[in-house]
């Protein structure tokens, strides 16, 4: 924080108006400091850190076991083969874990910040409050677990005989980033409910259940359910579209464009909800 400009720095000998928030150039430095803090915190409890990696791996293995059991009794789900679904599960896990590493803990903690009044302190800091609330803590176990997702993606791609071009890989990475933005925006909207509700932890945990939709091939859904999970809660886009780009079954560029538009719309909507939530915030502690 020492790198922030003095609020009353002088310009040509005259007093400049005090800076309300840090300039964007300072944010990488702030983020780096927050990352360092998270690393120190995690390394304080090394055994716990390692055990959480095991727990995440265990849950991922459960999904793989379930997929294996399903394909003991069928050859295809819609048009999706076993290895294509494995690629989907790996991609979904990779996206979920990166999202978890960057944002999940922070969104979960918003409820506590509101109800204990600790948000007051953050509102007073010369940094964008949403940035601070969203990025305060980084869950490093998420990055390790994302590695297992990546390993499954590579294994499934090998089984499918895929040789993606650099352009395909770039599309895949970009769409994964868009998927993380969708998850973050939706979760942040749900976390903002804590400004109105007594206890939002249940709602936070509830978000976890949405990931179960993201792991399913979109062809399994039809009618209203498919529309709901494509346009309103776009869980059928977040993993399906990146995978389709890799296996070259994306029907048109329309799906890619739709996902990008929805991710931008979700982020704008979350910004609006945050603004509304802050406008009705009355401190709990003072």
């Amino acid at each position: 924080m020492s790198t922030l400009p003095s609020p009353t720095s002088t310009l040509a000998g005259r007093q400049r108006p005090p800076a309300i928030t840090a300039g964007w150039a300072y944010y990488p430095g702030i983020y780096l400091a927050l990352t360092r803090n998270s690393l120190v915190r995690d390394m304080t409890f090394k055994a716990n850190f390692l055990f959480w990696i095991f727990v995440e791996l265990l849950w991922f293995v459960l999904q793989l076991v379930f997929n294996n059991v399903l394909y003991m009794h069928t050859d295809r789900i819609g048009t999706w083969t076993k290895w294509e679904v494995l690629l989907l599960i790996g991609t979904s896990h990779f996206i979920q874990q990166i999202f978890q590493a960057l944002f999940l803990v922070n969104c979960s903690n918003l409820s506590e910040l509101v109800h204990t009044g600790k948000l007051d302190f953050m509102l007073l800091l010369p940094v964008n409050t949403r940035f601070l609330v969203s990025c305060r803590q980084i869950d490093l176990t998420g990055f390790s677990s994302a590695g297992s997702g990546l390993a499954v993606i590579i294994f499934a791609a090998h089984k499918l005989g895929l040789h993606p071009s650099w352009l395909q890989l770039a599309y895949f990475a970009g769409l994964c980033a868009a998927a993380i933005l969708i998850h973050y925006s939706l979760m942040f909207v749900m976390a903002s409910v804590s400004f109105w509700s007594v206890r939002a932890q249940g709602i936070m945990m509830a978000y976890y259940n949405l990931f179960s939709i993201a792991r399913i091939p979109d062809v399994a859904f039809a009618g209203g359910a498919r529309a709901l999970f494509t346009f309103v809660i776009p869980m059928l886009l977040v993993s399906n579209v990146p995978v389709k780009v890799l296996v070259q079954t994306a029907s048109s560029r329309g799906e890619i464009l739709l996902m990008l538009v929805i991710s931008a719309a979700a982020f704008i909507f979350s910004a609006y909800v945050w603004k509304c939530a802050l406008s009705r915030y009355t401190s709990a502690s003072s």
């Binding site: 409890f45 716990n48 055990f51 959480w52 095991f54 727990v55 265990l58 849950w59 459960l62 076991v65 379930f66 059991v69 399903l70 003991m72 009794h73 069928t74 789900i77 819609g78 509700s197 007594v198 206890r199 939002a200 932890q201 249940g202 709602i203 945990m205 509830a206 978000y207 259940n209 949405l210 179960s212 939709i213 792991r215 399913i216 091939p217 062809v219 399994a220 859904f221 359910a225």
Partner: protein, 270 residues
């Protein structure tokens, strides 16, 4: 007798009032808990694209009925936050008061667990009933009253077993700073071995037998199998006896862990 029970009745009432504060939270949780169920049903319907297909004797109706039943059993019997709260009581020294008062901690927590289940069941009743109505073509009723009575008994034993397993796990808080990772391991094993992810009898026979040697299939798979008539006669009676045996084992394990934990427990300033 009444004097001895009164504190626990009061605890139950207190538990109801305390959890009612979070009824909206419960409603959201119950609502969102239906999402994985919806996902899994959709997946199985896609697998059963040919409606006459069977998977290890399960028709599409049997399979979806199984998952609907798992949801009902889960709502009625599963432990939600009890293990976390017990661990928190131990870490924060709140259990000290139970060492001085004529109220036993395990029974106290059992009352709170029962109260929590009652409120959660009421909160979940709306969304679950609507979901069952939407899936009414796949919902099966029990074959007869005896089946329903056995199912009800196994439900009570399942709730007790889950509570006692969680209580035993929470006792780790006497020795460890953080137990939530262990709670997630138990939950993961319960999903797989309990039969919440898929009916265990669609697996190879050897694997089924190995799984049935653990207590976890008796939390969900066994009550569901009774209800759906997958097991009958002597198999039901012997299964109920094994389930009761696991409840007794878990009870003694919980008591043993509690006694051992108290030996290493220190409370400063409370």
């Amino acid at each position: 007798m009444l004097t001895a029970i009164r504190p626990y009745l009061f605890t139950f009432k207190l538990g109801i009032e305390n959890t009612l504060v979070y009824r909206t939270n419960f409603l959201f949780r119950a609502l969102f808990n239906l999402l994985p169920l919806f996902a899994i049903i959709t997946l199985w319907k896609a697998i059963y694209s040919d409606r006459h297909k069977t998977v290890s004797g399960y028709t599409v109706v049997d399979m979806i009925a199984y998952y609907l039943l798992v949801t009902i059993i889960d709502n009625l019997t599963s432990v939600t936050e009890d293990d976390w709260q017990i661990a928190s009581d131990i870490k924060n020294g709140h259990i000290s008061q139970f060492l001085l008062r004529p109220v036993e901690y395990l029974s106290y927590r059992l009352c709170l667990f029962s109260a929590g289940r009652c409120v959660f069941t009421v909160a979940a009743a709306g969304p679950v009933t609507l979901f069952l109505i939407a899936q009414r073509d796949y919902f099966l009723w029990p074959a007869d009253c005896t089946t329903f009575a056995c199912f009800s008994l196994s439900l009570v034993l399942s709730a007790l077993l889950q509570f006692l397993l969680s209580f035993s796990l929470a006792m780790l808080a006497f020795w460890l700073f953080e137990i939530s990772s262990f709670a997630f391991v138990l939950l993961a094993l319960q999903r797989l071995l309990g039969g919440q992810m898929f009916p265990l009898d669609i697996l190879p026979v050897g694997l089924q037998r190995a799984m049935l040697c653990t207590p976890l299939p008796y939390t969900t798979f066994f009550p569901a199998s009774i209800y759906l008539g997958r097991i009958e006669g002597w198999a039901v009676a012997s299964g109920l006896m094994i389930q009761a045996g696991w409840v007794a084992t878990a009870y003694f394990a919980a008591r043993f862990a509690w006694q051992r934990g108290l030996r290493s427990y220190t409370s400063v300033g409370s």
